[in-house]
């Protein structure tokens, strides 16, 4: 069973979702929680069985799909993808457990389970086509969630979300096909296996074009400035669960793909584009933080803060050293936990008041102390206070990028200031002061169901902030092999200089050998 655990992880939720159609409405919720829980336990088992000392792919599965074109059903996890998979199953569980939606609950849970399949699939896929299929499939349940359970502008938002990301990924598909074609030209046989592609050393000008093609697909997904505008709409209109999954997992697909594809495939191009991308990332960080500060809707604040944090992740990724990339992978998890929790928290208040405007609130700390406390903890995590999960990631990202550029990091570091500004002012508007709105006077504090979803997140946010080692270590080992691979493949002298050479200071096996 452990040999096929990835297949199991991918298709178990889908099968369960199929079965879900025959489950009665009343027991659907319990059924959904049970399935998500089993899936989560399976993913924990995956972690348990994972050997953190091996940097290469583990639990690999392969099955030919279209042998003539080298398309295989190829799965595997390493330290980079392992935790994002666990995060996906974790958030699906939390999301289903804390569902407060009453309209067509059954459909919603089935959709979520399908979504879980696509998410796990994306992160476990090692074949570009399989990856692409899951990548695109993930749009469908999300489209449905926003379009069916969303706010008044849901159709606009969902169509925008779909078309925007779809356009980007089509360009990415072209890139993938070209990549396979180059592989064919170089070796005489077709392959879409990412690990096979890793071995390919492309001429620099090819790398630039391919990098650009992949970049567009990933950047829209992340979303990077100036492709970010679909996100506020999607978040603004999506139901709570949609926002949670979107922020926690779906956005991570973009940054994950950068680490999985762009970096090891195109080391020279990565170095070439490092500074332009870093500048975009910095614009993202500061500009969206400012936009977040101007928002009147608490959910939009969280949405824009997501973009801002994604900027830090991108910056860390393009630090191109172990510290930065490990930090960015870690920050993906951290941001997933924190922004997911923040969206859940916004959902809590939305369920009670059916408004998200901050001006409607004020003085909530008196009425809902527990809610204010949890919100405060998560806000501080989002601001990046040490000993919370976000700090580890942000610190490493900035530390890593500092090696590449002093001035840019200094500018990017403004993140910790502007982040504090919008978050604290939003918190002040919502929780501090006296209760002025009569409707708020008798609000109920967090109930048990909501606690069930939020407490684990608080625990994770603090636990991994204090003791990130169990997660950081496997990430570090896998990232080291990626960086080493990049260094070995790099051709231009600048790339050789920018990407550190790690050989000799550790015994990790490079990806090629592992494969």
């Amino acid at each position: 069973m452990i040999d096929h655990i990835l297949t199991l992880l991918i298709f178990f939720p889908a099968l369960a979702a199929m079965l879900g159609f025959v489950v009665t409405k009343d027991s659907m919720r319990a059924y959904g929680i049970a399935v998500a829980f089993i899936e989560f336990v399976l993913s924990l088992w995956l972690w348990y069985a994972y050997d953190p000392m091996i940097s290469g792919m583990q639990f690999m599965e392969s099955m030919p799909l279209i042998p003539a074109f080298g398309i295989n059903y190829l799965l595997g996890v390493d330290g980079i993808s392992l935790f994002i998979i666990i995060l996906s199953t974790f958030f699906t569980l939390i999301g289903i457990a804390s569902l407060t939606e009453t309209r067509r609950l059954k459909d919603l849970i089935i959709t979520l389970l399908f979504l879980e399949m696509t998410m796990v699939g994306v992160f476990a896929a090692l074949d570009a086509i399989v990856f692409y299929v899951f990548w695109e499939l993930s749009l469908v349940p999300m489209l449905y969630i926003i379009g069916a359970w969303g706010g008044p502008l849901r159709i606009y938002a969902s169509v925008k979300f779909f078309l925007y990301t779809f356009t980007g990924s089509l360009v990415m598909l072209v890139g993938m096909l070209f990549m396979a074609y180059f592989y064919y030209q170089a070796t005489g046989q077709w392959s879409f296996s990412i690990l096979e592609w890793y071995r390919l050393i492309l001429p620099e000008n090819f790398q630039l074009w391919l990098f650009a093609a992949f970049f567009l697909g990933f950047a829209i997904k992340v979303p990077m400035f100036p492709f970010h505008t679909w996100l506020p709409y999607a978040h603004g209109q999506a139901p709570t669960i949609g926002s949670v999954i979107l922020a926690a997992i779906l956005l991570k697909m973009g940054t994950y793909a950068f680490v999985r594809f762009s970096l090891p495939l195109f080391p020279d191009a990565s170095v070439f584009f490092m500074f332009p991308i870093a500048i975009i990332a910095i614009i993202m960080i500061i500009y969206t933080a400012m936009v977040a500060y101007a928002q009147e809707d608490i959910k939009q604040v969280v949405a824009y803060s997501s973009v801002s944090h994604m900027g830090v992740i991108i910056l860390g990724t393009f630090a191109l050293n172990v510290e930065g990339v490990s930090g960015s992978v870690f920050l993906m998890l951290a941001h997933g936990v924190v922004s997911g929790a923040l969206f859940l928290l916004v959902g809590v208040i939305y369920d009670r008041r059916h408004t998200k405007l901050m001006s409607e609130f004020g003085g909530l700390a008196t009425v809902m102390p527990r809610y204010a406390t949890i919100f405060g903890i998560m806000m501080m995590a989002s601001v990046g206070l040490p000993l919370t999960i976000n700090f580890v990631g942000e610190f490493l990202c900035l530390l890593g990028f500092y090696k590449q550029s002093h001035m840019l990091t200094l500018t990017a570091g403004v993140a910790i200031i502007v982040g504090a500004i919008y978050m604290l002012s939003a918190y002040k508007k919502m929780f501090f002061g006296t209760v002025t709105n009569e409707a708020n006077r008798n609000l109920k504090d967090i109930n048990r169901t909501e606690m069930l979803g939020l407490i684990p997140l608080v625990i994770v946010a603090i636990w991994l902030g204090i003791y990130p080692k169990p997660v950081l270590e496997p990430i570090n080992n896998s990232v080291e092999s990626v960086i080493q691979l990049m260094h070995d493949k790099a051709q231009t002298p600048e790339a050789k200089a920018r990407i550190p050479d790690l050989s000799g200071n550790n015994g990790t096996i490079s990806l090629q050998e592992a494969h």
């Binding site: 101007a294 172990v322 930090g327 040490p386 500004i421």
Partner: protein, 628 residues
Amino acid sequence: MELYLYVALFAPLVGSLYAALFSASPKSKHVGIVASGLLFTSFVSSAILLSYVMSGHIVHVEMMTWMATGDLYIPFGFVVDQVSVVMMMVVTIVSTVVHIYSIGYMDHDKGFNRFFSWLSAFVFSMMVLVMSDNFAGLFIGWEGVGLCSWGLIGFWYHKESATWAANEAFIMNRIADLGMLIGIFLLYWNTGSLQYDVVFAEIGNLPLVVTTWIGIFLFIGAMGKSAQFPLHTWLADAMEGPTPVSALIHAATMVTAGVYLVVRANPIYDLIPNVGLFIASLGAFVALFAASMALVNRDMKRIIAYSTLSQLGYMFVAAGLGAYWVALFHLMAHAFFKALLFLGAGNVMHAMHDELDPFKMGGLRKVMKGTFVMMTLASVALAGIYPFAGFFSKDLILEVGFVEHHYVIYTVLLLTAGLTAFYSFRLVALIFHGEERYKLFGIHPHEAYKFMLVAMSPLLVLAMIAGAFKMTYYQLVISVLPDTQYHVHSEMTYWIMTIGTQLFVIAAIVYAYKKYSNWNSVPDGTSAMENSFGYKLLSNQYYIPKFYEEVFSKPYLELSRIAWKQIDLKIVDATVDGIANVIYKTGENTRDIQNGNLSTMLRWMVVGLVVLITLALAFTVGYNAVGA
């Protein structure tokens, strides 16, 4: 000894968590008692560690790994050496006193339990800050105290001014923290580690320019925490918090973290005397600058806050001039008498029902004997009168300035010493002497609980006798800090200086008493002095808060609005929608082709045919041209 270290470190945390458990429930006295008890335990452990360290040992433990990736390795490591143990003693003594005092002070507050949770959490963060053996751990404590300061300034969160001040403090500190973070990055990439011992061993090998930058960035961090100009405005506003908080955080401990950082990083600053001189100059400037603002202020707590700021300036002068042990000594002495002063002010506030304007008080000496004595003695110590603590530490700083031939700094500090004495006794005179103006406002003052006064007494004792420990202290810390002696060259000069300073200070005190001890009216803003330019300038804090408001806060908000409404919605998003619209409109327009009219379709078919044929022709011609 490791056990004592852990007890000293984690007892406050346990207290905080214990209090947090009850934070939602109504006031329960046991919370305060347990928290204070645990703090006392921490104090006892620190004292045991002190005796151990005094015998020449150092306790260094590594609890566990925090972050490890690539070459980066950051553990949770703690070191108790001669410097940190001094800080630990200061922190635990003052915080134990403040905890016990708070049981009485916060007696009637609804958030009693919550208060203790925050307060103990603060002490824990402060302990982490001083005990850490690496810069990252220091940064944890650094941010931790910032967080607790935020929570405590905004403790009365229903007050707009309190929450505003809390956010201001946090954000200002964040600005400085960025500098500190950059300093840490520089250290890591140049020395490969963040451990103090490794860094300090390596620092000599670095190019001077790098060291300079490291020093500058770390000092920027210190500037924020210690509220040095231009990041000073938050400290006065932070007085919105409960008074024990002001005593503990904004006088005795947290604000001195910046000084501690410079003292701790003395091997770095020793290499860059230019930066050190800058630090000293800024310190001297802030000392005078803050003192001048305290002269006219009409808010009791703000006056003491400015005095804190001013004293921090003194400390930075000492630290900047390389007299690290002097800076640390003044830090210690200042912690005692300033905390005492604040707690006394707290008593007065309680008695006056949260009235802060000293002009509305007067004559409180009769009803508040204990507080009167304590505050007067604390003010004497602050003014630096022999044989109180302030004399030994503050005069030493003056001597340092003199001996190092920085006469400008020396003059400024001397002048400031006079101002300090003046405003301190202006305050004392206005509060405790003269007519009982509070009667006009129908207030019936009463003395604080007895146990609060008892709790304050250790501070009183320390404020009086701390100077006696000077040599012990000196012997202790020179094993870590550079042993710099400051002797004025001739005996004669020394005595002239000392006595001259004392006389100057006493003259200032007498003047203050004369001017204010018989004050009999509440100024209403009509007197000539209050309308003079100088007065207005000072009472508006040189218009700096207003300047920040106009130049930074408002434009930032405005810019944010523009970024959202104009750029994000009207440019970025509109472009995206525009592209979509172009495609949509194209479809809408070309839809006429598909109008179902077959004859139109036929025509289009012919158009297509013509186009295709043209293309075929063009390509064949082109092909032939190339082929030929």
